[in-house]
């Protein structure tokens, strides 16, 4: 056996100090198995050692929250004894090394997190970000990730209903694959990972253990360099078919009263699942490794404990329920092995070939894991930039078309048509709208969901950017008629050992906290992905937010396509003309300096609740959140979705018009209203001090800015739909 010393510990990603701490906690030198287990539990991915103290500051409660962070996924109350369970998770590092399997197992992992809790998964969402389209790996990564997400979700039969796809050169060396899943359950049928009952059997179910994914979590806790590709063996291989069987078998077992606790084997496999269960229950656990179903011969205890083979679960059963439970898994053709039991030793004890190969006090792995308060800097709001010289002579029509044809703003149906978004026959709002909406099966209510982040805002000012991401999900949920309930977050950043990066992280947490508090919109689950750097170059801070809302009555669902001609088009919210970091200035002009739009949380809440009331009272025909590209792009999207045109009037100089049309001020919505409702809407707006600008009317087929230009909606659509098709032609 390899000699365990400080040098080997460092190879395992631990620091010299951390190694000394292990010796201190153990009262002796660890053996190789024990070192492997410590390294798996103490890496950044599993221990949250850099982020934990900051995550604790986030709000995690409102009257809907049943379970906040700390479990496999968060749980919220959806009324009538129904709950909704959801979480988002990153699979960035593996997806860069092997895009198909990396993305597929990302989807598989998040699905397991949700059905471990007793939920039937009903919707997948994702946020995927790639480097510049011109970068040599981008096309390969895009195609691999999209087919990986589809390959897994389509097969298991859970619809992929929404998400975002974006390109920026900051992701050239580190792509982002964030996968979210939402499931439904009955309030009294939610399962947790806290173990109890000394002597209760510990059961292993699902796929066999192989040598894949060993040290996956450790790999995800370091930066990349030129040799990243050599890390391919650390990427797991997914089998959605087995996961489908595991899902059905687990849900069948959950109908019986046999389970004490259940935990999926995700990052750090058997190691983290067994330790988490025992640690939460303040118990010990004893496992005989010879009883683990292995796929390959001669696997060592070290390999068994660190494998990240997919589609496996660990269950603590009530004593006496073994036989009945085994029958269910055998029916589904899955392994079922009683591998050990709960003890009162408060230790993780492993036996192999009749020898003890590991004995670690459980609390030394979890509670005593390192926690760092790393140095950080604070970012001030950047100086305002005057863009007059850029926009004075800019052609409005030309700029609109450039944005609509740009890779980041073009129609994404090339992506989501590769995902089965309709299976389960409850997707009542498909991808492409402000939020996806899935009918709560068999009920008259719906689950609205969206995933958002604007990394260029976050880079320019992390705090405002994180606030904006929270607000955008809130607005997207409001726009479909839902009541926003809670969020899940996936915090993607660079190397936290650098104070600039840690500063981005801390500021983002602070921004998120403020926004969540103001909107009563807590964080109930999430994941942190650090070390998204290659050769010292970090990605933009990307705190992806997944928002979930309750649509009380599906017949009140709102959509963003125009419904008729001769209706009024109005902007709700204040337009100041903020252009820095907008689609126009950042992506079309190419000026990346300046501050992101300011977020005014009072305004956000006030305008959102106003829109919500209008939808409830059936006073609006269409609603669309104003985001990238400003009013003009939002308007074009509403036209393209309906094949109805619009004619709007804007006054002032060319610069004034550009500012009004392309600004990305926050807390705004574009709405379609019938003439007959105009007066009442104005009255409500007035009483609530809401700014509302009537900018024009819908008309047939032609998109028009009065005294400036006309273009057919058909032409806009052609431009908007061409980028992905052309890019992937060969």
């Amino acid at each position: 056996m390899q000699k365990v010393n400080q040098e080997l510990a460092i190879k395992h990603g631990l620091t010299a100090d951390e190694y000394n701490k292990i010796i201190e906690l153990m009262g002796r030198n660890p053996n190789l198995v024990e070192l492997g287990i410590f390294s798996a539990m103490w890496n950044e991915h599993c221990s949250y050692k850099s982020s934990r103290i900051w995550l604790q500051t986030l709000p995690t409660k409102n009257k809907y929250v049943i379970q906040g962070p700390g479990e496999n996924a968060g749980v919220v109350d959806f009324g009538d004894d129904d709950v909704v369970i959801f979480k988002i998770e990153s699979h960035n590092h593996p997806s860069y090394i092997e895009p198909y399997q990396g993305a597929a197992t990302g989807v598989g992992g998040i699905l397991r997190d949700v059905f471990t809790m007793g939920a039937r998964p009903v919707a997948n969402l994702n946020s995927i970000r790639f480097g510049s389209p011109n970068h040599k790996k981008t096309k390969y990564l895009l195609n691999g990730v999209v087919s990986g997400i589809g390959g897994y979700g389509n097969c298991i039969g859970v619809p992929t209903v929404g998400g975002e796809t974006e390109f920026d050169e900051c992701y050239n060396g580190n792509i982002l694959v964030n996968a979210m899943n939402i499931g439904v359950a009955k309030k009294d049928k939610v399962f947790y990972s806290i173990a109890s009952g000394v002597g209760n059997p510990v059961v292993y179910v699902g796929s066999k253990t192989g040598r894949d994914g060993i040290h996956g979590a450790t790999m995800a806790s370091t930066e990349f360099d030129e040799d990243s590709e050599s890390k391919k063996p650390t990427v797991q291989v997914g089998d959605p078919f087995t996961e489908k069987l595991l899902l059905e078998a687990c849900l069948e077992l959950m109908q019986k009263k046999s389970i004490v606790s259940i935990q999926d084997m995700g990052a750090a496999g058997l190691t983290s699942s067994s330790i988490e269960m025992a640690s939460k229950g303040d118990l010990g656990i004893k496992i005989n490794l010879n009883l683990i179903p292995c796929r390959e011969n001669n696997m060592t205890p070290y390999e068994i404990m660190l494998s990240e083979s997919q589609e496996r679960m660990l269950i603590v059963l009530k004593k006496g329920k073994e036989k009945e439970s085994r029958k269910i898994f055998e029916k589904w053709g899955l392994d079922f092995a009683i591998i050990g039991k709960l003890t009162n030793s408060k230790k993780l004890e492993l036996e192999f070939n009749k020898k003890n190969v590991c004995s670690i006090p459980i609390h030394s792995l979890g509670d005593n894991a390192p926690k760092y308060k790393r140095d950080f800097i604070t970012y001030s709001y950047p100086k305002i930039i005057n863009h007059d010289s850029d926009i004075e002579k800019l052609d409005i029509k030309n700029s609109l078309i450039k944005i609509l044809s740009h890779h980041n703003y073009s129609n994404k149906s090339w992506v989501w048509e590769q995902y089965d978004h309709m299976v389960m026959t409850d997707t009542i709002q498909k991808p492409g709208g402000d939020s996806a909406v899935v009918r709560y099966h068999g009920k008259n209510k719906g689950i609205a969901a969206t995933v958002d982040c604007v990394p260029r805002y976050c880079k320019a000012h992390p705090k405002s950017g994180a606030m904006q991401a929270v607000c955008e999900t809130w607005r997207n949920l409001i726009s479909v008629g839902a009541q926003p309930i809670a969020i899940t977050n996936c915090l993607n950043f660079g190397n936290p050992e650098k104070k600039e990066i840690m500063g981005q992280f801390v500021d983002s947490i602070n921004g998120m906290k403020e926004a969540c508090e103001a909107l009563n919109y807590p964080v109930i689950s999430g994941n942190v992905s650090l070390y998204n750097e290659t050769n010292g170059v970090a990605i933009y801070p990307t705190p992806t937010i997944g928002g979930v809302g309750l649509l009380k009555n599906i017949n009140n669902m709102m959509t963003f396509n125009f419904k008729n001609t001769e209706n009024i088009v109005a902007v709700v919210g204040e337009t100041s003309g903020h252009l820095s970091q907008s689609a126009l200035i950042y992506d079309i002009i190419g000026d990346k300096e300046g501050p992101p739009p300011q977020v005014n949380l009072k305004e956000e809440k006030k305008n959102g609740l106003f829109i919500s009331d209008l939808i409830k009272e059936k006073l609006v025909n269409a609603v669309h959140d104003i985001s990238h590209g400003g009013i003009i792009v939002t308007l074009a999207e509403m036209c393209m979705a309906s094949n109805i045109g619009a004619k709007i009037k804007v006054s002032g100089s060319n610069s004034d018009k550009i500012k009004y049309l392309f600004a990305e001020d926050q807390a705004r919505y574009l709405i379609e209203i019938s003439q007959k409702n105009l007066e009442i809407i104005k009255k409500i707006a007035n009483s609530k001090n809401i700014k509302i600008d009537i900018i024009g009317k819908t008309q047939s087929e032609i998109f028009e800015v009065e005294n400036d230009f006309k273009v057919s909606v058909k032409e806009l659509k052609t431009k908007n739909e061409s980028w992905f098709k052309n890019y992937n032609k060969n």
Partner: protein
């Protein structure tokens, strides 16, 4: 009218199709792939999904499963069988229907609403639909590209076995409206006797006003 929906490991449209069958008054039971006996049924439905993970070849392992012996016997006695998507692939692999389904021409999974033209309405599956009408129904598959030899196609045409063809909104059968490269834009066929129907589009996804419209319900209404 009684239907049995076969549930293979990996089926994932079994629940969806049951909901549609029952919505249109057809009593439905779910039958597990390892069952030895088929309950008394007028119609057997092979649902969409990824039976046995689609490993080896789509539908091939399912075609050898225990319950398929019963399904084949049921069809030989003249009982109705309908295979949707993966179910169509299983019917082809079981040789209850001729031809093969290969990878989509763009080599990608495609999930979207498409339009099909009803070529033959003199079957148990299309009797309530007017001939040449255009239905909007979603597809969701990776291997839906129907292929057969020239002789076989001639035979299908001579016997009116082609039931659905991909077409544009106006009903023109064009190359542009063919989503997956199927020969002759074929989206659905029956066997010579007319009692076994395979189709790639999912009628159960277009049988609810809140989803993709009601065009798919015409197939369920015809079954009754």
């Amino acid at each position: 009218m009684k239907a049995s929906v076969i549930v293979f490991p990996g089926s994932n449209c079994d629940r969806d199709v049951r909901i549609s069958l029952e919505k249109f008054g057809i009593k439905t039971s779910m039958v597990w792939h390892a069952d030895v006996k088929l309950p008394k049924s007028d119609l057997v439905v092979l649902p969409g999904g990824f039976s046995y993970g689609d490993y080896l070849r789509c539908g091939s392992i399912a075609s050898k499963s225990r319950i398929m012996k019963e399904v084949i016997a049921h069809s030989k006695k003249g009982g109705s069988v309908m295979g949707i998507c993966n179910g169509f692939q299983i019917l082809v692999e079981s040789q209850l229907l001729p031809g093969v389904l290969i990878k989509n021409i763009n080599l990608k999974f495609i999930c979207k609403n498409i339009t099909v033209k009803v070529i033959n309405n003199k079957t148990n599956f299309t009797s309530k639909i007017s001939r040449n009408s255009v239905l909007e129904i979603p597809i969701a598959h990776n291997e839906g590209n129907y292929f057969a030899s020239k002789n076989l196609i001639d035979e299908l045409e001579d016997n009116n076995q082609i039931i659905l063809q991909y077409c544009d909104a106006a009903g023109n059968i064009t190359e542009q409206s063919n989503p997956n490269g199927s020969i002759k834009n074929i989206a659905g066929i029956v066997n010579k006797k007319g009692n076994v129907f395979g189709l790639m589009p999912h009628p159960e996804r277009a049988s609810d006003e809140l989803l993709s419209g009601m065009d798919g319900s015409l197939i369920f209404k015809s079954l009754k």
